[in-house]
Symmetry: C2
Subunit: 312 residues, 2 copies
């Protein structure tokens, strides 16, 4: 059965049957709008859109994979503010001939990824479209914490990273060269492992700035440097190239630091901390904040690709 045969309302009921309400869900799918707890009187909200052929390919990723990645990209933005995600809203645009099972599997991936942080899919919309498109909005709860912005870094702060870097970009390169292994890298591209707990943990100890690495480490740290009016210097030796990534880079003739410094799809977190703070669990020191502007590596300008823009 395709989505046109299932019909909008039929498809919605098939999809919502796959969802599990989270603790913050006061009213889930089925009415004009959902109602979600926002315990401290504020809600954190972010939107990300995934377009087929640009952000995912159906021959590279299953529908469940795409659901995991669409959820992860949005949930990462919420934890990067220091908040705990509560819910997702999902708009799905699909060609009429799309298999209804694809939409159901997408819901499973979205729901399962959200469940990792206790969140759930609370609402959405569906439409026919020539282009398969998934727009996700994530909501979160700061639980009294001060949101950690991009603009709070100070010269002298420590720069730290939580999560993996370069794995998803390496997986993307592997897939784009027509390979399906190593599985570690390909799976990292299909389903990023976001260090969700590290975001609220950083906020709780007093991180001065934080960002989700979605465009590429150098590019995203550039946003922090600009917003905070500081420079950021990375220590190259702090970025270890894992063995499978090194082997793959050698086999494909690629500099692995291009993946580590320029790839964004792992949704790692970067944060700055006042020098005297012990780093919370999951964070590792990789550089420091300096007076000046821009991002450098061992004090030198970075020469590789910093990240990528859309509309190119």
């Amino acid at each position: 059965m395709n989505v046109a045969q299932a019909g909008e309302f039929g498809l919605i009921s098939r999809v919502t049957a796959r969802l599990h309400p989270g603790a913050a869900t006061l009213l889930g799918p089925g009415d004009d709008a959902a109602v979600v707890a926002a315990s401290d009187g504020r809600v954190v909200a972010s939107t990300d859109v995934l377009v087929e052929g640009r952000h995912f390919r159906r021959d590279w990723s299953s529908a469940v994979d795409v659901g995991h990645r669409a959820a992860a990209a949005n949930l990462a933005d919420i934890v990067a503010m220091g908040a705990v995600p509560t819910s997702l809203l999902v708009a799905l645009c699909a060609p009429p001939e799309t298999d209804a099972g694809w939409a159901e599997d997408l819901a499973v991936g979205l729901s399962d990824e959200a469940a990792k942080v206790g969140a759930s899919v609370v609402g959405g919309d569906m439409s026919a479209s020539p282009t398969l498109t998934i727009a996700v909005t994530a909501l979160g709860d700061l639980h009294g914490a001060t949101p950690v912005l991009r603009s709070g870094a100070h010269a002298g702060d420590v720069l730290a990273i939580a999560g993996r870097l370069g794995y998803a970009a390496a997986g993307y390169t592997v897939l784009s060269r027509g390979f399906r292994s190593p599985k570690l890298l390909v799976e990292a591209y299909r389903r990023p492992e976001v260090p969700y707990a590290a975001g609220p943990a950083a906020a709780n100890v007093g991180a001065s700035a934080m960002i989700d690495i979605s465009d590429g480490l150098i590019a995203d740290l550039g946003h922090v440097a600009t917003a905070s009016r500081v420079g950021i210097d990375l220590r190259r030796a702090a970025f270890e190239v894992p063995p499978q990534m090194r082997d793959t880079a050698n086999a494909l003739g690629v500099d692995p630091y291009q993946w580590i410094f320029g790839g964004g799809d792992d949704h790692a977190l970067a944060a700055t901390f006042p020098e005297d703070l012990p780093l919370p669990k999951g964070w590792r020191r990789v550089g420091h904040v300096v007076k000046g502007a821009g991002v450098t590596v061992d004090g030198q300008p970075y020469q590789g690709v910093a990240g990528w823009e859309h509309f190119q």
Copy 2:
């Protein structure tokens, strides 16, 4: 300049320059996520997506018009719960050759429509796509009110309507026949006049059920009837056909009740009220809730088109 030349970050800064923060905006665009007030510890959230060629046509509506309508469709869902809208998040997918000014004008329309209820655009995302697509999420604040669901109607309740019915559908028919007038109807299609204040007003006096009319009056009342396990009977004489609509219907050989009972793009509100309640401002009585199931007109099954599904 087209959106590819402006680049994602250039376009975002051009667009955000057109936005005005609302009273509930604690942190607006520019970070990983926005922070919005949710004063009573709950947030109401809804998502609607508009796809070019399906929900709008660039030769029928300006970018400002499309912005107004995209915002209105979402804001209507929030007020239909009895909540006051606080903010919008917008994901825009556009072909690279789209004029950057079109995206800026879209932002103006979204922002101006949101400002009617004191809300604002607090965040978003942009991507290249072959299909021009706008996914909007609206957030709202119940200010302590109990959300008004579709499922609360009881036999004996009064059915009332706020806002216009059939105007936008008539405008759509006019445009689809190649005409550009009467202006009243065409403008109603381009920029719906949503009775925003009527939603929270209905919640405050104790409406038992409420819904935004987005698919068509009969179809949407059918959702209320199903969710509430009741029947709903409309009094046809309560629906006046305005003179310009009647003239247009005659000229085009259309039954105007097809627009009034089957058209949804005006985003009127329908609500049920306990019999003894005086209706708040903006509401007019058009029928009542009965034991049974389904929607009838003067006690008879409705024979026309009830509304429309997507994926057809």
